[in-house]
Amino acid sequence: MTDIVRSLERSLLFGNQPKETLALIGQQFRVRTLSSGEILFRKGEQGDALFIVAEGRLQIVTQNAQGDEVILNECGVGETIGEMSLVDESPRSATVIALEPTVMLELKREDFLQLLDEQPKIALLLLLTLISRLRFATTYIEKATEWSRKVSQGDYAFIEESVPLRGAEEKAQQFLGAFFQMVRDVQQREQALRQQIQALQIEVDEVRRRQAVEELTATEFYHTLRQQAQELRRHRHSGKRKGE
């Protein structure tokens, strides 16, 4: 049997709350179990509940423009899923699948609203969570601006400093994922071009070069030609076009 209060204690959303508050909140949660591969919800479905992972691991996936599945993130114990739809009832922005037998704590919207009536400070708590995510997104927009500048200057070092995506909202993750993929692709193409040009073994064998030039210029023909050419050039350009 899952201990709801203990799970809430380990959660990022409610972890800082005193035990009494957690006991109160805990009453509103239902336990939901998923077997491995089971879908929690699909992208586009109406969102009407928030989930906290009590045990197990889940994967957040979406589809790109080509219809291929793109893995956005993984979610583990203590993390929260779907808190935005709890407030605005927006459709789910991604599909969530259990990667192993998983236990979720589910808070329905109506129960949540009732909880807010009884415990207004819960609203503040949620607000803080949402703001931190907004800040995270804003920070990354600033960073992305800086990274774009670096890319156009050919500086790709920032890719190596790995980017912590956890905690980002799905759309932000999607953006960051696409952004980094783009930068990696651009860098790869640029490297490939450089290599191709380096692979064009355009080196001159200076010894052979000197030998060839010496052979060509050592002849009597060449000496005469060189003298004649000099005279010819002097003569031609000091002369006038016929008829002038």
Partner: protein, 261 residues
């Protein structure tokens, strides 16, 4: 006094004749008086671009070299040759071609006996005078035999065409040294048939670094140009094509040069 522009490449297959024909046509379209001499007597080819066949080829450079006729009888006005393909070609186009014989016996004779380099020089100087040329383009034979050395020696401008390839580069290095030793006033490299996926700026930089000589243009290996198969002067037939635009830019660079320098 007109300028002699030699187009040379150390090896065959660089697109030298194709470039020569296109540059000559562009210069003529710009209102210049232009002649093209095919001195590649061992393997002539530029006549094909101007629509000459074995049957329509009149007197050739070989006739002049063998003292069978004066040089001006060999010069054929190109507008006559191409009026069938290009009815809109300006009547005022001042462009002549001095073709080399494609007769196997004549080529064999040159290969066996060579020819009088001094007479070739005399013929070229006469052409400049008689036709009052602004530009005399010489399509040279690959390598550095005596005829080619002469063409380089008397040139005001030498365009060395090369592909970004080891053998072309080695030969080009020798040609560049020879051109400097012969005091050619203007030397330019043209890197041709470059794979479009290469960074052209980088190719230009590397070549200039390697030869310490300016690269006038980096031209792509174009399927469209290859598809044209030397059947026509590409920049005349497809003036809006990006390849043609590059050739026009190259031509403009050439026309801005002055004698001597």
């Amino acid at each position: 006094m007109g300028l002699i522009v030699s187009i040379h490449s150390f090896r065959g297959g660089t697109g030298k004749s194709n470039l020569t024909a296109n540059l000559a046509v562009q210069a003529a379209l710009a209102g210049k008086r232009v002649a093209v001499v095919d001195t590649d007597i061992q393997s002539p080819g530029i006549h094909v671009l101007f629509g000459i066949t074995q049957h329509t080829m009149g007197k050739t450079l070989n006739d002049f070299l063998n003292e069978r006729c004066p040089i001006d009888e060999v010069a054929q006005p190109v507008k006559n040759l191409m009026s069938g393909s290009y009815p809109t070609l300006s009547e005022n186009l001042q462009l002549w071609l001095i073709p080399s014989s494609i007769n196997a016996r004549e080529i064999g004779q040159v290969l066996r006996k060579g020819y009088d380099v001094a007479r070739l020089n005399e013929g070229l100087q006469t052409l400049l005078q008689e036709l009052a040329l602004d530009y005399l383009f010489i399509d040279t034979h690959p390598g550095l035999n005596e005829e080619t050395l002469l063409s380089i020696a008397i040139s005001d401008v030498l365009l060395v065409v090369l592909r970004p390839d080891q053998q072309d580069v080695q030969g080009t290095a020798v040609t560049v040294d020879i051109a400097r030793s012969l005091d050619v006033p203007h030397l330019f490299l043209i890197v041709n048939k470059v794979l479009p996926r290469y960074d052209f700026g980088e190719v230009k930089r590397r070549m200039e670094d390697l030869f310490q000589a300016p690269v006038a243009e980096v031209l792509p290996l174009s399927e469209d140009v290859a598809d044209n198969g030397s059947a026509t002067v590409f920049s005349l037939r497809f003036p809006e094509h990006s390849w043609s635009q590059k050739v026009r830019a190259l031509s403009a660079k050439l026309l801005s040069l002055e004698a001597g320098a």
